[in-house]
Amino acid sequence: MSGRVNFLMAVALGFCALMLVNSQYQARRLFIELERAQTQARQLEIEWAQLQLDQSTLGKHSRIEASARQNLNMVPVTPARTQYLTVAAK
């Protein structure tokens, strides 16, 4: 009787040990995946900062003014040429 119990326990122990190995493996694999995702997130953040900077550089007022004046032949608006509308009181 006790021999059988021992045998069953041994089998259970072996099974648990294998499960432990497996879960440890899974944990490490998922961890590497998480790591990769975090790196990607960081990379994207850097890219975003870079793009924001580009937007600022390209949207510089001096650049806009230069191309408006030179390429599009625009002139600054003056109040004399502006039609002011007043919103009717509700």
Partner: protein, 591 residues
């Protein structure tokens, strides 16, 4: 066992005597006792040595050994924190950090590399081979070859495969607006530490805290597991400034044009939001490009609006008049005899540029008469005037946290002599910075109260502190509107479509304790006069293009900046849009 006493001399003799074989003489050899003791002792010593060693390893040097063991598989990774971005009030990026690399070398190892590779390396790093060799010719085991290198170039350098060349991650700060924002934003040094402007003043907020994590790495260098909780890096906070980059650009370009046109040494301009106390624009000339600071001079670096004090001149007159009105000594219609345009106080004589005759208080401001102002000032106690100047922030250390902002100088009233009180009433004998001057005009723009300035975008409006009554503020504003009109000293300050109020100032400069023939022309004003939204202060230092009056050099800048700024802020016009009149011979203000 029977003891055999006495040993036979030889076996043969023993046999002859009939001794049995079982008792060989060898068995009877008696070893000296010390020998066995010796062995025992040696064994004991050996065990002791083992125990000592075990103790040494397990108890005394465990830390060291565990560390050594860990260092074979555990790694501490630095998690660099990014410096916060600086944006303007609309979210436009003014300063941002981009990751770059620093390339460093172990000179000994690198010098062993083949010559062609070193030549290629020098080419990639954009330096001559000699410079490179010069850097490598060092006893140290760590030499920076170049810092803040583009990641692409750094990768190319690593691809060369030279032993002893390594890279390190770092950040480079970019300033897309360049010289336009230079004096507000400032810049950081190569270590990412703020050196000037907002970057310096708000260093603690902007700089992050570096994080770290302890990990186990496998043979291939993959991270396998965290050994303890990650210390997350804390990125620096982003700052939203009160600056509006559009208004800043307008202010900077107009100032630049004026400084160039008047051949001035320098200039400064500041635009304030009268309702919130936010600084909408602050520019200086000459300026510099914060992205390339190789040829930077002290003159370019100087934030004149904040750090330079000057004698303001006539722009102080409205305060004297406001005080006289507030204390009931005069009304706007009180008449003052200013003829013959000269006045002697003690041994000194003060005078007007042109004698005016009888002027009302309002006209004193309109024509900027020194004599009229002094006659009002001399009715007052020094303490009252000192209290007025102090309560609008003159001579007081500014509290907005901008590095280098100066307090200016208003001497204690107890030591004022009458002539000093007289000159101070029209802005000589005290020194102020332009930003202080702009802020002090808040009492006229805000109907009598003054609020603190802010360089950061505010979520709520600050509470004002009452200095003068609303009635006085409105009256002085009305006078300043006349000064900025066709009959005043600054007709060029007029803006089509908007009513503006302001005051010119022209002051001699002090050099070595004496007044010299150099001027500071300034103009401080507010617009629209019916309900002021902005305060603009302009200063042109040493104009030498023929004109030097504040009304000629600074007022046109004011006019252009106000026109563009109010339009940019969507403020509706408060006067008819007609051609403005600028008389050929405008009233000259007094120095």
């Amino acid at each position: 066992m029977k003891r055999i006493v006495g040993l036979p001399r030889s076996p043969r003799v023993a046999a002859a005597k009939g001794v049995p074989f079982s008792s060989t003489p060898e068995l009877k050899v008696k070893l000296p006792v010390w020998r066995s003791r010796m062995v025992l002792f040696m064994l004991f010593l050996a065990f002791l040595a083992l125990i000592c060693r075990a103790l040494w390893l397990q108890a005394l040097s465990t830390d060291f050994l565990q560390k050594q063991g860990e260092s074979r598989y555990a790694r501490t990774l630095e998690l660099p924190a990014t410096r916060g971005k600086i944006t303007d009030r609309n979210g436009q990026v003014l300063a941002s950090s981009v990751p770059v690399r620093a390339i460093w070398a172990i000179p000994e190892d690198v010098l062993e590399a083949p010559k062609e590779k070193l030549r290629e390396l020098a080419k990639l790093l954009d330096m001559s081979e000699q410079t490179l060799r010069g850097k490598l010719d060092s006893d140290r085991s760590f030499v920076y070859l170049k810092r803040q290198v583009d990641p692409q170039i750094a990768d190319a350098v690593l691809k060369l495969g030279i032993d002893g060349i390594q890279t390190r991650k770092e950040y480079k700060r970019f300033y897309p607006e360049g010289e336009v924002m230079a004096h507000v934003v400032g810049f950081t040094n190569v270590e990412d530490v703020g050196q000037e402007g907002i970057e310096l003043g708000w260093q603690k907020t902007l700089a992050g805290v570096q994080g770290s994590r302890r990990v186990i790495k496998d043979r291939l260098g993959h991270i396998v597991e965290d050994m303890r909780a990650i210390r997350e890096p804390q990125d620096g906070k982003n700052l939203a400034l009160s600056i509006d980059s559009k208004i800043q650009y307008i202010a900077f370009t107009k100032l630049k044009e004026a400084v160039e046109k008047n051949k001035a040494k320098a200039g400064g301009i500041v635009v304030l939001d009268a309702r919130t106390g936010e600084v909408l624009a602050l520019a200086n000339m000459p300026s510099y490009n914060p992205n390339d600071r190789r040829l930077l001079t002290g003159s370019q670096l100087r934030n004149r609006v904040m750090t330079d004090t000057y004698e303001p001149g006539s722009i102080m007159k409205p305060f004297t008049v406001a005080l006289a009105l507030e204390t009931g000594r005069v009304t706007p219609e009180t008449y003052i005899q200013t003829a013959p345009g000269k006045m002697t106080i003690g041994t000194a004589t003060i005078g007007d540029a042109h004698p005016h005759g009888v002027l009302s208080v309002a006209q004193v401001i309109e024509k900027s008469s020194n004599v009229g102002t002094v006659k009002m000032a001399l009715q007052m106690q020094p303490q009252e005037m000192w209290g007025m100047f102090t309560s609008v922030g003159l001579g007081q250390q500014p509290k907005f946290g901008f590095p280098g902002a100066v307090a200016g100088r208003v001497r204690p009233y107890k030591s004022w002599r009458p002539i000093e009180q007289a000159t101070m009433s029209y802005g000589h004998g005290i020194s102020v910075s332009l930003i202080q001057m702009a802020r002090s005009y808040m009492i006229f723009a805000r109907n009598g109260d003054i609020i603190p300035l802010s360089f950061l975008k505010l979520a709520e409006q600050p509470v004002g502190q009452k200095v003068i009554s609303e009635k006085t503020a409105v009256a002085v504003r009305r006078m300043m509107e006349m000064a900025a009109g066709p009959t005043g000293t600054a007709p060029k300050a007029q803006v089509p479509g908007y009513r503006v109020a302001g005051k010119t100032g022209t002051a001699y400069k002090l050099a070595g304790g004496k007044y010299v023939n150099k001027y500071v022309g300034s103009f401080v004003g507010l617009a629209p006069a019916s309900d002021p939204r902005i305060i603009v202060a302009v200063m042109i230092d040493e104009p030498s293009g023929g004109l030097h009056y504040g009304g000629d050099v600074a007022a046109p800048v004011f006019s252009e900046v106000v026109a563009s700024t109010l339009r940019a802020m969507n403020v509706s016009p408060d006067s008819s849009v007609t051609d403005i009149i600028i008389p050929a011979d405008a009233a000259k203000e007094s120095l």
